[in-house]
Structures are given as C-alpha cells and as structure tokens.
C-alpha cells in the first residue's frame, strides 16, 4: 500500500500483524532489521524474566474489571504469551513466590511494549514517522 523507509511497497496491516506475532517482526518487514533485533531481544527478555519470576499471565475474571486490562496487556505479547500459557507449568503464576509481583510487572510491561511496537510499525508503514 504505502512506502516505508526501505522504499518498497508495504502493507501497514501486515506490519501490525507481524509486530503482534513476534516483537520486532513488523520492523524487520519494514526493513529496519537492526532495531527489530533490539526490540526482539528486549521484549523477549522482559517476557522470559517475567515467566522466570513466576508472574501471572492474566485471564479475564468475573467481577474483576481490571483483569480485562491486564489480559489485554499480556495478550499484546503475541506468540510469547501463547507459548507461555502452553509451555508453562503455572501460567497463572505462583502467588507465594517472592518475585510474583515483579513477574507480573515484567509480563505486563512486555505485552505493553509490544503493543507500542505494533503502533510504531503502523506509523512507519504509513509514513507518519520518519
């Protein structure tokens, strides 16, 4: 559709979808390989540390409206979130762990970072950001 920095035709929605699937993939699609690697490393490390700290991959709970926002945030991590839920023994986290709260903060941050990357990939693809 529109031309990104690489000077070739790119579809902003494909960039957004790729960015959601894995951190940095949208930027790699737009030809920004170096920043894509940095984003992939930072977001993945944040997510993996969150899982290591036995944080919680939130799900929507009745009567807990904030859990909707938290679930939206962790689902922003795309495949990392899905892989975490499938592969982890305790996707709901371990409340008794000393690092539980830190883990939750890391996981939420990883998801929110990736949501920002999706918006950034869209802006780059439509030429809104230089």
């Amino acid at each position: 559709m529109t031309a990104a920095g690489a000077g070739r035709s790119t579809n902003p929605w494909i960039a957004v979808l790729l960015a959601w699937i894995f951190p940095g993939l949208g930027h790699a699609y737009l030809g920004r390989r170096r920043t894509a690697v940095v984003y992939a490393l930072v977001v993945t490390l944040t997510f993996v540390l969150g899982m290591s700290f036995q944080g919680r991959l939130y799900t929507i709970e009745p009567g807990q409206p904030l859990s909707i926002l938290a679930t939206f945030a962790v689902f922003g991590a795309g495949l990392l979130n899905i892989a975490g839920r499938v592969l982890s023994e305790t996707p709901g986290g371990n409340v008794l762990a000393v690092t539980y709260e830190y883990g939750c903060a890391y996981l939420l941050t990883a998801g929110l970072m990736n949501l920002l990357l999706m918006l950034d990939a869209y802006d780059l693809a439509v030429g809104r950001k230089a």
């Binding site: 984003y39 930072v42 490390l45 944040t46 993996v48 540390l49 700290f53 990357l117 950034d120």
Partner: protein
C-alpha cells in the same frame, strides 16, 4: 526458566535495575533515531527510574510494613 532465575539474584534492587535497563533501552530506540540522542534518553530514563525508585523507597522507609 529456573536456570535464569538461578542466575539472577532475587534482590529487589537488582530486579528493579534490570527492569529499568530494559525499559530504558526500549524507549531510547522507540523515541529517538540518532545514536547520541538515544544514549542521552537512555541515561535520562534509567536515572529517573532507578533514582526515583530509591527516592520512593527512602520515603516509605519510616512506614511499617
């Protein structure tokens, strides 16, 4: 996962500093495009997060848990 946890000490300050490092790198790359500008923003965010965290911890010190 457990190996990673074993490598990283369970220490409030270390966990907070690692978090600050990751967030600083992320926003430095997201918001700036020049190398020098990125370094400056990275230092600012890192300093604000770590020093801000220490300041809040110090302010909360007198309060019982």
């Amino acid at each position: 996962m457990k190996l990673l946890l074993a490598l990283l000490p369970v220490d409030h300050f270390v966990i907070m500093t690692v978090y600050a490092l990751l967030v600083s790198v992320f926003f430095a790359f997201l918001w700036r495009s020049e190398r020098r500008e990125r370094l400056v923003l990275f230092a600012k965010i890192l300093g604000a997060l770590v020093l801000g965290g220490l300041a809040v911890a110090w302010l909360m010190y007198p309060f019982p848990s």
